[in-house]
């Protein structure tokens, strides 16, 4: 294990946000879920006791007769926010005093740095370039991500869970979020920062980043496995393969969407457009892990090769 180099990489000022991600994301994940479960217990209690539900007012705390029904924003909320502001300011101060801007050597047009990495928040996109062609990974998928994020309020018609943490009432939304944000974004950022070394080669943590490393990687397109060579053959075969994937993935997603009685209720209330949009987004999201797995297992490059784009 090359601890020295691992430390050098982790302690780079540039990588501090990502190193903190490693700790902060699990912590808040745990913290939010703890609160959700506490609220779920309260919800169950109130559902069991309709009388209590009438008098109960604070969603996150058990009922107590001597407590006022409502508390004022000032000072009870603002003082907490003020404290948070103080702490964040202190952290930013200390950060800016101790860590300077991580500048590197002057740009040299005849010499590209290796590895040449995007800013940390774009590393997820850069990682996608490994699995998709630049047109997909650089243009189509980012657009879908942005449009998809904008579409969430129109797709999500579950009225529950506003203003309080809950797991039980928003199971599907939560897991979709965890998969999309943590799985497809945070993890990709972490991989891009700590795992991808010179030549964008996969280095496990502790493995020395060797500039002289020579790797042999022969990736093949799906049609190569079947010996299809003609352009039309490839296009049609690829379209069929992708169609098959979409059918299977769509069926799986539908099963998930209608997994519980509650979610079936939500599903019933969705319009066709809402449903189809959600299906498309989910199928596209799933494509990334599927391709990662296929790449690792059978060195698959593209499923569908056309003269204009590849998937």
């Amino acid at each position: 294990m090359d601890w020295h180099q691992l430390w050098v990489i982790i302690s780079k000022p540039d990588n501090v946000p990502i190193a903190s991600l490693l700790v902060l994301v699990p912590f808040y994940f745990w913290y939010a879920f703890r609160q959700s479960f506490a609220n779920d217990r309260l919800i169950r209690q109130l559902e069991a006791d309709p009388e209590m539900a009438k008098t109960h007012h604070r969603k996150t705390q058990p009922y107590h007769p001597s407590w006022p029904k409502e508390v004022h924003v000032w000072p009870y909320l603002l003082r907490i926010e003020f404290l948070a502001a103080l702490i964040v300011t202190v952290i930013l101060f200390v950060w800016s005093i101790t860590l300077n801007a991580p500048l590197e050597a002057p740009a040299n047009p005849s010499l590209t740095m290796n590895p040449s990495k995007a800013p940390w928040y774009f590393l997820g996109l850069q990682e996608m370039l490994v699995y998709f062609d630049p047109w997909m990974a650089g243009v189509v998928l980012p657009t879908v991500i942005i449009v998809g994020l904008m579409a969430i309020p129109y797709i999500d018609i579950n009225p529950l869970g506003n203003g309080y943490y809950t797991y039980r009432q928003r199971r599907f939304a939560l897991w979709t979020f965890c998969f999309g944000f943590i799985g497809l974004w945070v993890v990709m950022v972490v991989i891009g920062t700590f795992i991808r070394g010179p030549g964008w080669v996969w280095f496990w943590p502790g493995q020395t980043w060797d500039h002289n490393l020579v790797v042999f990687d022969l990736n093949r397109d799906l049609h190569d496995f079947f010996g299809i060579t003609s352009m039309w053959g490839k296009s049609i075969f690829g379209a069929m393969a992708v169609g098959l994937y979409a059918a299977v993935a769509g069926y799986g997603c539908h099963k998930l969407i209608t997994l519980t009685e509650f979610s079936r209720k939500v599903y019933e209330r969705m319009t066709l457009l809402q449903y189809l949009t959600m299906q498309m987004l989910l199928v596209l999201m799933l494509l990334l892990p599927v391709k990662i797995i296929l790449r690792q297992l059978i060195n698959l490059k593209y499923l569908w090769v056309t003269p204009w784009f590849n998937i």
Partner: protein
């Protein structure tokens, strides 16, 4: 809740939202915020500005230093002040001052007590009135312009009124005159003021005039003090102390707009430009506070123009830490040079200088680069350019020949067309065209002839670092070859030949190829000579200026050429005789156009005798210039055949083993090995340093190093050492170069490579200081971002010095001569020349040669040092020296460079026009003759005359050469004080003394001289410059 009994009070549970207090948390957070705020302010003012601390330390240390230094300087100053000269100047000055004191007093009193106060008072009243009038005039002008006649008129009246008004001027009581109040009309006041001003100017001028003498004397006294005081005087020291005490804390920066340079180095290095020398020891051992150790460099490179970082590198803008300021940061591309490589900074701009007075390491690096043969494989701009020039000219010749052929065809075609043309007009036109083409052919021929001449000279100039391998057949013991190739250092430690990484089979193949590729030829056989006489000749003729004999620490002689301790084991006697007699003689000439060595048959076919030398240097087959000399810098010492035999016989005795003891290398004649050997020789670039048959036109195998220092670090292949280098902190250019030079194969370590894939660079077994020198050169070989103006590309005499020095180094002139001040010849360091008798046998120092000799004569002498076509076995100028000025067969260009070099070194004007000397008139000839042969200093007792018996004891050149050889003004200076021109010379000083405006002989002069009122020195010079053989008798 439901199950709580109604009459029971519920337990008091505090509302977690409203009852809890957050004061403590907010207090703690606020305190933390305060602390970080204080920390931020502290960081901003001190941590990020460490130079403040340096400046504080500096002030106290510097003041302390100045305090201890001031009394010392004051003492020195006191000494000067107490000297008689100063006292005399002081009293002269005081006398002059007292003499005029009463007059000055008078003027001062009138000025200060009468005129100045009056002017002040009157001015006040006058100015107020004039101001008002001025404003009114403006209003009047404006009114007149607007056509408001009546307003203008009324203003004019008002002005008139003001001009006529009476102004009271009150004079206070002074000097006995009582206070009074005078009234002036405005215009009178103006006149009176003018009068007073004029009087004031007159008095002031008078005062300066009266004090003129005293002022001059004071200036003289002060400059005497300044000139005789080492360092600063007391007042200046006190000034420095005051300055140090009131030092403003702040960034000190040099800003040079032209090259976008901001250097803040002096924010910490405060004493860099201190007017007195400050050593680290003076400042409590703090290196950063020492003054610049080589002030003279700052004189040539004014920091206001050059800054610091262009020479030293580092990050001149950074002020937040030492590491950043010095650029010792992973991403800063120009880190401060390490101390031992500091001269790399010079190389950036002084690329073409092979010699820099203050850069010994760099000079060494540049010398080694050429001398050790780096240039054989690695191109470097400005080094070993003869080959490239030669190639270019040869190509041009080929093009010209092509052009000539096509033009001839064109002529024929045109004439033919003309013959067949239909009209007379057309025919005339075409014939004229053909004539024009004919003339252009003659132009092409002229150009080709001229270029052939160039080729001739370039052929002479082109040298190889190692010996020609075409001569192996006639030169070497063939069994010795494999042993040498395998490990040259084992046979001859410190040889220039590096050790290649070869296995046994490769050594065999290479040996076989070299042996078989050598040209065949016969050498005349020679009887053995007298080895002991040969030894003496070897030691005295000057061979040891370049060659050494003896093993290891016992080696005696120059290191420029090979150590000959074991030459007897490898060499063939007959070859040595030829070589010692004239090393430039080749066995066969090489034709660069046919790309082969010519054979006697080539000459026979054209009915020509097999003769090739500098006078017969054209190819019998195609009339191109041939390479008729060996490409060695070794000159001919113009020895007789007998002497050459003696020396060769002596050299053959230098051995540790018998040549016959070498293992029989029978495979060397195996022709099956030839091709493999040739491939290996080509692969390893042997032809970079050696002339090898069949590989004459190969190009260099190594990477070009002209800009190696600014190659991105990623492009330097540390291979498997990368991570060790990073961890051990040598992942930089310096680390790469140093390790590569120490162990050239180092970056192959751990790599699995085929035999011909390995790094080819051989091991030169360089000493550590040689590695440092070469590393310095490479580090400085950068693409400099500085504007062109900063590069040292002189076009005047300094360029002549640059170019001449190249030739001097190329032929090792410094082996025998001192050429620059501070440089001693190799010979002068040899044990033989330590006794006083032998000291006189040292070749002359040629510092100041340009002032001494006529450049035209010098050019002739350099081409033919014997100064004779027939009697060559001698020195032309100093026949009494045993060491021989050799014939180097310089090209015209080299002669020109050398002559210009010497002229430039002595700042002689170009071109040199010999001054007309007045002929000796009347009795001057007999007077001069008397002076020349005076008992006190008979010139001819030391100077050579040409009589062999006398010349055996002579220690100076013949006067017969003076007229053509010397410059008259130099001759005069030489006779006055030769020890200033050449310290330690046998020529006596003090022959003349000053008598008024002229020099007269210091010795006893015959009575005839009493009536002669001319300059004796001048007389003697004129005599010497008309000296003839008849006069000598």
């Amino acid at each position: 809740m439901a199950d709580v009994p109604p009459n029971e009070k519920p337990p008091v549970v505090k509302d977690p939202v409203t009852s809890s207090s957050m004061s403590l948390s907010i207090l703690v957070a606020s305190l933390l915020l305060m602390l970080t705020l204080i920390w931020a302010v502290y960081d901003e003012t001190y941590s990020m500005r460490p130079w403040k601390g340096y400046q504080k330390d500096f002030v106290s240390l510097y003041q302390q230093f100045l305090q201890t230094k001031t009394p010392e300087q004051a003492g020195l100053e006191q000494q000067v002040r107490e000297s008689r000269e100063f006292q005399d100047l002081e009293s002269e000055f005081e006398a002059a001052e007292t003499a005029v004191a009463p007059q000055v007093e008078e003027i001062d009193s009138e000025l200060n007590q009468e005129i100045n106060p009056k002017i002040a008072l009157m001015n006040a009243a006058f100015q107020a009135a004039r101001g008002e009038i001025g404003a009114l005039v403006y209003q009047q002008e404006v009114a007149a312009k607007d056509g408001n006649e009546s307003a203008a008129e009324s203003i004019r009246e008002r002005i008139e009124q003001l001009r006529g008004q009476v102004l009271p001027v009150a004079t206070p009581a002074m000097n006995g005159t009582p206070a009074e109040e005078t009234e002036y009309v405005y215009t009178d006041l103006e006149a009176e003021l003018d009068r007073l001003q004029a009087r004031k100017a007159e008095l002031q001028n008078r005062r300066v005039e009266i004090l003129q003498e005293a002022t001059d004397l004071r200036r003289k006294r002060d400059s005497y003090l300044q000139e005789n005081l080492v360092g600063l005087n007391e007042a200046q020291m006190e000034g420095l102390q005051r300055e140090a005490g009131s030092l403003q804390v702040g960034i000190r920066q040099i800003h040079v707009v032209e090259m976008d340079l901001v250097d803040r180095c002096e924010s910490c290095h405060l004493a860099t430009r201190a007017p007195l020398e400050v050593a680290a020891a003076d400042m409590g051992g703090r290196m950063e506070f020492a003054s610049h150790p080589r002030k003279q460099l700052l004189d040539a490179h004014d920091p206001e123009q050059f800054g610091c970082s262009p020479c030293h590198n580092g990050n001149g803008r950074a002020t937040t830490s030492v590491v950043k300021g010095h650029g010792r940061h992973e991403f800063w591309l120009w880190p401060l040079w390490e101390k031992e490589n500091i001269e790399a900074g010079c190389q950036q701009c002084h690329t073409r200088d092979l010699y820099l007075p203050d850069a010994t390491t760099l000079n060494e690096g540049k010398f080694l680069y050429q001398h050790r043969g780096c240039v054989g494989c690695h191109r470097y701009e400005g080094y070993d350019t003869e080959g490239e020039q030669l190639l270019a000219v040869q190509n041009e010749i080929l093009q010209n020949e092509q052009l000539r052929r096509t033009t001839l065809v064109e002529i024929d075609r045109t004439v033919d067309q003309a013959d067949r043309s239909e009209t007379d007009e057309q025919a005339r036109f075409l014939y004229a065209k053909a004539d024009g083409l004919k003339v252009s052919v003659s132009g092409i021929d002229a150009e080709t002839t001229q270029m052939n001449g160039q080729v001739r000279h370039l052929m002479k100039e082109r040298k190889k670092v190692g010996p020609s391998l075409k001569e192996v057949h006639v030169k070497l013991n063939k069994n010795w070859i494999p042993e040498w190739i395998e490990n040259p250092q084992a046979f001859r430690p410190a040889t220039k030949m590096p050790q290649f990484r070869l296995d046994e089979q490769q050594v065999r193949s290479i040996s076989a190829f070299i042996w078989q590729s050598g040209v065949r030829g016969d050498l005349p056989s020679h009887p053995r000579g007298n080895a002991s006489n040969g030894k003496e000749l070897f030691e005295t003729r000057g061979c040891m200026a370049c060659h050494s004999v003896g093993e290891g620490g016992d080696a005696v002689g120059g290191e420029f050429a090979a150590n000959l301790s074991r030459v007897g084991e490898k060499a063939n006697y007959e070859y040595l005789v030829r070589w010692v007699h004239n090393p430039r003689v080749r066995t066969a000439p090489y034709c660069p156009f046919e790309k082969r060595d010519l054979t006697p048959e080539d000459y026979e076919n054209h009915g020509l005798p097999y003769v090739f030398d500098l006078d017969h240097s054209t190819c019998p087959n195609d009339e191109h210039e041939l390479q008729v000399q060996q490409m060695t810098v070794m000159p001919s010492l113009r020895l007789s055949t007998a002497e050459a035999r003696d020396i060769a016989s002596y050299l053959m005795t230098l051995k540790q083993r018998e040549p016959g003891d070498y293992e029989e290398a029978s495979y060397i004649d195996d022709t099956a090995l030839f091709e493999e050997g040739k491939e290996l020789v080509r692969h390893f670039g042997c032809d970079g340093c050696h002339e090898i048959a069949g590989l004459e036109e190969e190009s260099r195998i190594g990477t070009e190093l002209t800009r190696e220092g600014s190659k991105p670090i990623e492009r330097l292949d540390f291979s498997l050492m990368t991570h060790d280098a990073e961890r051990e902190d040598w992942y930089n250019h310096k680390g790469f170069f140093e390790r590569k030079l120490k162990t050239p194969a180092i970056y192959d370590e751990g790599k699995i490579k085929g035999p011909l894939e390995k790094l080819r660079m051989p091991n030169f077994h360089l000493e550590d200081d040689e590695i440092t020198a070469l590393t310095t050169l490479l580090l400085g070989s950068v693409e400099s971002p500085l504007p062109e103006r900063y590069f040292y590309h002189p076009e005047d005499q300094r360029q002549a010095i640059q170019q001449g020095w190249e030739v001097i180094l190329k032929y090792n002139c410094t082996g025998c001569h001192s050429v620059r001040i501070g440089q001693r010849s190799t010979l002068s360091g040899l044990p033989l020349y330590q006794s006083p008798d032998w000291r006189e046998q040292l070749p002359p120092s040629i510092i100041g040669e340009g002032a001494r000799v006529d450049p035209l004569w010098l050019a002739g002498f350099l081409s033919n040092p014997a100064l004779s076509e027939t009697s060559v076995n001698r020195n032309g100028v100093r026949p009494y020296l045993q060491a021989r000025m050799p014939t180097f067969y310089f090209s015209q260009g080299e002669v020109l460079k050398l002559v210009r070099f010497f002229e430039a070194m002595s700042s002689q004007p170009q071109p040199y026009i010999a001054p007309e000397l007045e002929p000796l008139r009347g009795q001057e000839l007999s007077l001069a003759r008397q002076l020349f042969r005076s008992e006190g200093a008979p010139c001819l007792s030391c100077h050579a005359t040409g009589d062999p018996a006398h010349d055996a004891r002579a220690t100076a050149p013949s006067f017969l050469l003076s007229k053509v050889r010397l410059k008259p003004d130099w001759s005069g200076r030489w006779m006055l004080d030769p020890s200033y021109i050449s310290p330690g010379t046998a020529m006596p000083s003090g022959l003349f003394r000053r008598d008024g405006e002229r020099w007269i002989s210091a010795g006893p002069t015959p009575p005839d001289f009493n009536r002669y009122d001319g300059d004796h020195l001048d007389l003697l010079v004129r005599y010497i410059f008309q000296f003839t053989e008849a006069e000598q008798r």
